[in-house]
Point group: C2
Chain length 477, copies 2
Amino acid sequence: MSKLTRDPKTITRWDTEADVVVVGLGIAGAAAALEASRAGAETVVLERAGGGGGTSSMSGGVLYLGGGTALQKACGFEDSAEEMFKYLMAACGPSPDEAKMRLYCDGSVELYDWIVAQGVPFKETHYLGCSGEPPTDDGLVFSGSERHHPFCDIAVPAPRGHVPKIEHQGGPLLMQKLCEAVDASPAEVHTNTRCTALVQEADGHVIGVLAEHFGQETAIRARRGVILTTGGFVLNDEMMRQHAPGGLKCSVRVAAEGDDGSGIRLGVAAGAATLHMDAVSISLPATQPWGLKRGILVNAQGQRFINEDTYYGRLGEWALFHHEGRAWLVVDDEVFEKPDYPRELAAVGETPAELEAELGLPPGSLEATLALYNRHAEKREDPVFHKLPEYVKPLTKPPFGAFDCTVEDSLYAAFTLGGLHTDPDGHVLDPAGDPIPGLFGAGRATSGLSVGSYSSGLSLGDGAFFGRRAGRCAAGR
Amino acid sequence: MSKLTRDPKTITRWDTEADVVVVGLGIAGAAAALEASRAGAETVVLERAGGGGGTSSMSGGVLYLGGGTALQKACGFEDSAEEMFKYLMAACGPSPDEAKMRLYCDGSVELYDWIVAQGVPFKETHYLGCSGEPPTDDGLVFSGSERHHPFCDIAVPAPRGHVPKIEHQGGPLLMQKLCEAVDASPAEVHTNTRCTALVQEADGHVIGVLAEHFGQETAIRARRGVILTTGGFVLNDEMMRQHAPGGLKCSVRVAAEGDDGSGIRLGVAAGAATLHMDAVSISLPATQPWGLKRGILVNAQGQRFINEDTYYGRLGEWALFHHEGRAWLVVDDEVFEKPDYPRELAAVGETPAELEAELGLPPGSLEATLALYNRHAEKREDPVFHKLPEYVKPLTKPPFGAFDCTVEDSLYAAFTLGGLHTDPDGHVLDPAGDPIPGLFGAGRATSGLSVGSYSSGLSLGDGAFFGRRAGRCAAGR
């Protein structure tokens, strides 16, 4: 049999027993543990690291929430679950799960209140001068492509990035508060404890797990359910090579050590289906500060390929998956903002032709691209890729320069988006679409709301939302 | 438990017993059954249709073989396993399985001889005026992008498409001969028999299957192994939506009725890992006849995106996966070959600007693309996409026309490329990389040699090759 499942007949005794066993203590695990234990289920959390937080605590802490949250209202923004749904169905990749998306949008106002109730502070001010994490302690930002083509024509834009009140990186504060809440709950946390196998009956029921604690194997019985919240697999080179080889090329991968796909492999060994294992959130932060959005991104053929003002998560996926990770941001002297920009130009030329030669682009290609762009930019128009007028200006003032945005230099793989197939209650599903009895999942061990073309805050958001649902369902509520 | 696996305790009696049970009778199933039965294993083949053949018999019958086959030699072509390996490693998508590829290239000469020994006739002549299936009964063709950028600089090109001797579509003849060989072998074929579940012990061993024959359930014991050779899932809309939604947009899907992913689902329910479920072979036969390769393919931004002379399987994947399935083939009056071309022009214009307006492309976009293309074409050069000089000529003679190559009109999804993860002996693997005891797979129910950027003949080729290996291994040889 697989190393990852164990026949109950081979278990001589259970070292620990609980109603619900949660594997992993990132945001999904914390949410699941809080809801399960508060519902009266005896709950044990297994965390392989020395303490809770996982990759969630290494993140920016942005939660994608909307539909008229208290924070959106306090900041004077109107939003509705319907507009949020329209945006997300269009922006979350080729085939997002409509049922989950609907529940998420309808439950988003309540989720914000719940996060606040766990002690996470949000300042009721907004900062609209960036995408994603603000440089301030403001609470509300745009964290996706809501204001940009084609989404601005699909749904009424609203800022939906909810960021804990702290300057720089909200993830640590978010997870500190959630882990404190778990500590204060009836749930019991076992750190330095790695789940190694699921105990599964011949009839398919998952009835417990095997775990390892400082080299010692323990058998933990789960009377009602096991919830896998172990994160994605961006740090597992073998799984990345098999499922998402493009992401492997990125120079930087941001993740906690635990993001090796362990929970996905456990679920698959138990007969689970997976979804969207090829999807990875890829970031290309080339257009920060925003003035640089007035430049143009070109590929190895010297062609533009996207509206440069769109969200950096979308820029990165386009560059990597559709243009082989070869891209440069081309600017003229007017757009170039050296004091603000942390990186050096890769090439400079007095004319577009010089710059093109310097970059090794095909003769005439960048020249032709710039000529067409400038022809329309004179009228602040971009009929080719529909960049917003505020970022459109002719690039005519020499010298011309280019920032290197290639995989080697600039692209980074944030995290994987695919994983176990779950239903909206967190049941892990087999390939016939039926739940594997006793097995649940949430967070990036599962396929979430976004299956491509990322907006920031969706992973923390769906981890919390579907983690809570899995916790309640496993507890038998 | 899953509907797709069955606890042996629930089986009261075995209706049939055999050493090896092969599920499906396409090329992989035929190859597996022939080798297993000839190795002395009592072999039963279950085929859900009324007769054998499957999607293999709906194909063109091209087998991708090389390394110096008898047919290549008879036609005067040199080839080596090493050059074939170099081409395939570069041409088969982002992360082909190196170990399988090496075995396949090294074993290709022997595989050709084996196919011939089963009674499949090949005429020892070549036809190099097309890609893929020839309009003649010639035996040898180019069936990939061997002669085109970037592959012509990676490996010495050789024609490797081996086509059974018949005018039009070689698939039916190929499968007729292989099915006759199966009939003449000791293997027993049960038609109209659909496998519905795998019988699996609590320790993971697969020991048989349940099947349905005209509404009646039968239990079939497999003493040594079950081999899943059920094909891909291009006809399963739900699986396509979940794994390869792009392919679902294609107007035509060429497959036998059985290509609903049934074997993939059976394997996953038993704990198998899958690979490359997002990969689909997409064809865009826009450049037939070849004179049309002198035109240029443009996307919805009026930009070129690939060397137009590359293989049509590669054109299709680029158009669909990287350019949203929006593409037009633009020609001038000199390139337009109406008598040979079965389709109508979608738009005509006296100038590039007129054609561009007619197609609704952004103003100036097609004009700029044509101007750059023509500038280099004057010298028979294409430094942007590296089309071969023989297909490069300035497009300057009015009127200008465009063929519609969009998903609605022209692209077709040939088949899915992803499936069960198997080792080179056909063992179906769990997510820890260990074999699921008693379970084997081959053909498009498994992830094969090509995981993208298809060359014709690879699916029949790896189905036959790894089907044979799985048959021998399951038989215990």
